[in-house]
Every structure is written in C-alpha cells, then in structure tokens.
C-alpha cells in the first residue's frame, strides 16, 4: 500500500501546518484560511428522472440526491457521512471524509451502474480551501460574481462559478460559533497555488490566520 506519508496535497509546498502553528494565537484576523487536504470527491452521473437510479444512489450516500440547483444534501460535517453537492441536472459531487471515497465509490458503482449511473473518482483533481471568519464573504466578493448575501447564499448552498481567474465549486458550511460564515472552495489542483496566494493577498487588509483543517 502506498504510505499516506508519501502523499502531497496540492498546497503541500506552502508549509501550511507550520504556518497554522505559528498563527495559533492570532485572534484578531478577519479571515481564516486552511487547506482541507485529500477530501474524498466522487463525480456521480445519472438521470434524476430515473427513480431506480435515484433510489440506488440516494440509498448508498445516505441522503436524497439534491435536485434543486445550487443546493446540497447529506452531512455538513464529513465525519458524519458524505455530502452531496448539486453540480448540474445530471451531475453531483459527493464529498467524503479523506479516505472514505474508495469504499463509497465501490458501493456506488455496484448500486447505480446498473441503472445508468456512473462514478468517477476525482478526489485528486481538486483540493479544498476553507475560508471563514467575519470577512470571509468580503474576500469572496473580490473575485466571485455570485450574490453571496447571507440570506441568498445560505448554509448548505453550493454553486459553481469563478473566483478570480479560477473555476471553483463553492459550498457554504454551517456558520461558525461566533456567527461568521464559513466556506469551502473546491479548486482544481493546478490552480490551487494561484488561488491560495490570491486569497491571502485579497484578504490581507482584514488580517489572515492560517488554520489547520
């Protein structure tokens, strides 16, 4: 088996763990940034009009596949179970805790392949940047054309759009304890470095704390 220590996340070269340790006491930062490395990500295709498929897939991922655009289903906390993001009328992104994707992919294929579903493991194709804090939304507004007003883009909502010059999938998690918003940004691996540096730059005026996710 390949040893986990051999893995490198998209942002491994930035030494974020060390930075997070150094930033631990930084409490006045308006923005917190971290990398959620190695998220499980499965691209699921199927016809939402096909009940057999919907039943099979929903049963496997433990929630009803969302069919309302820009919404998600499943768990906000991935340790509790997978989260399913609507990507398109025939496409979902299943996000799992790191390592959980392989088994789930197997189950999904078994359940859904017979009824027109297909699954592709894209866990390495994107990494996830977590952006939270009182000014998280301000930072996003600098590069994203979506309306991110808290009443419009609510917890559990997701959307694909552009952030600066990178294509992203944006997911809004449950608010932080202090009421501030928290976002997960799925970004293509080769754009991750660009986007991270961009985010740090854009967030500079609010103060940035690097966090461990």
């Amino acid at each position: 088996m390949a040893e986990p220590y051999q893995r490198q996340s998209a942002l491994a070269h930035l030494g974020l763990a060390a930075r997070a340790a150094a930033d631990r006491e930084k409490s006045d930062a308006g923005v917190q940034l971290g990398e959620r490395a190695f998220p499980g990500q499965l691209n699921l295709r199927g016809d939402p009009g096909n009940e057999e498929f919907m039943d099979a897939a929903s049963g496997t991922v433990d929630c009803v596949l969302p069919t309302v655009p820009n919404t998600s289903a499943g768990e906000d906390d991935l340790e509790e179970g997978p989260r399913v993001l609507w990507l398109a009328p025939v496409e979902w992104l299943i996000v799992t805790a790191a390592g959980a994707e392989e088994a789930l992919a197997g189950e999904l294929v078994a359940a859904a392949a017979g009824c027109g579903g297909s699954v592709t493991d894209v866990s390495d194709a994107r990494t996830v940047i977590v952006l939270q804090g009182p000014n998280a939304r301000d930072v996003l507004m600098k590069g994203c054309p979506l309306d991110l007003h808290p009443d419009v883009f609510r917890p559990g909502h997701c959307a694909q759009s552009l952030l600066a010059r990178a294509a992203v999938i944006l997911y809004r998690r449950a608010d932080e304890a202090d009421g501030s918003a928290s976002f997960e940004i799925h970004v293509t691996r080769s754009f991750a470095d660009y986007l991270w540096v961009w985010l740090e730059d854009a967030a500079g005026e609010y103060g940035v704390q690097v966090i461990e996710v």
Partner: protein
C-alpha cells in the same frame, strides 16, 4: 455585462458563460450526399440578424449545460431562454 439566466443555475454574469453561435443549425444527416455549396452553407453561412437571434450558450463555469437564448442583437434584450432541442419560442426561423 449581460445577465444570463441559466435554465438550471439561475441568473449569472456573462463571464460564466460562452456563446456558441447561432442555434437550430442541425448537422446534415448525410453529409456525403450534399454538394460543396450545401455543405458550406451548413458549415459557414449564418443568419447573423440585427434583431432577435436564437443562439446557443453554455454555462462554462457553472453546470456546463448548453441551452438556447433568444436575444435581440440590437439591444441585448434577452427575450427567452429555452432548452436545447426546443423550438424557437417566437415561432420565427426553423
């Protein structure tokens, strides 16, 4: 910048989309049976009207779905958004 309503994702900025040109041009089923002129007509000729224009757009940085838009090229007013394969809502053209 245009505001285009993706039939699935809702209203989004033009920068998320790409325009694929005139809609309702069907690929000939038997290209080999066509004259060079008829083939060129399919390949190159476009209506390019000043006024309502049925065109295809794709939500490149969103759901990646293609759909049709009826847009007035003289004013940029968007008259309709409709799915691929559906006829032009204003009954014009083919």
């Amino acid at each position: 910048m245009l505001l285009i309503t993706c039939p699935w994702c809702g209203p989004r900025d033009e920068i998320e989309f790409s325009c694929g040109g005139e809609a309702h041009i069907t690929r000939p089923s038997e290209p080999e049976a066509l004259t060079d002129e008829a083939w060129a007509d399919y390949l190159f000729n476009r209506t390019n009207p000043k006024g309502p224009h049925a065109e295809r757009w794709v939500h490149t940085h969103g759901c990646r779905r293609w759909f049709n838009v009826l847009r007035n090229t003289a004013t940029n007013e968007i008259l309709a958004v409709y799915e691929m394969g559906k006829p032009r809502p204003d009954g014009e053209g083919s």
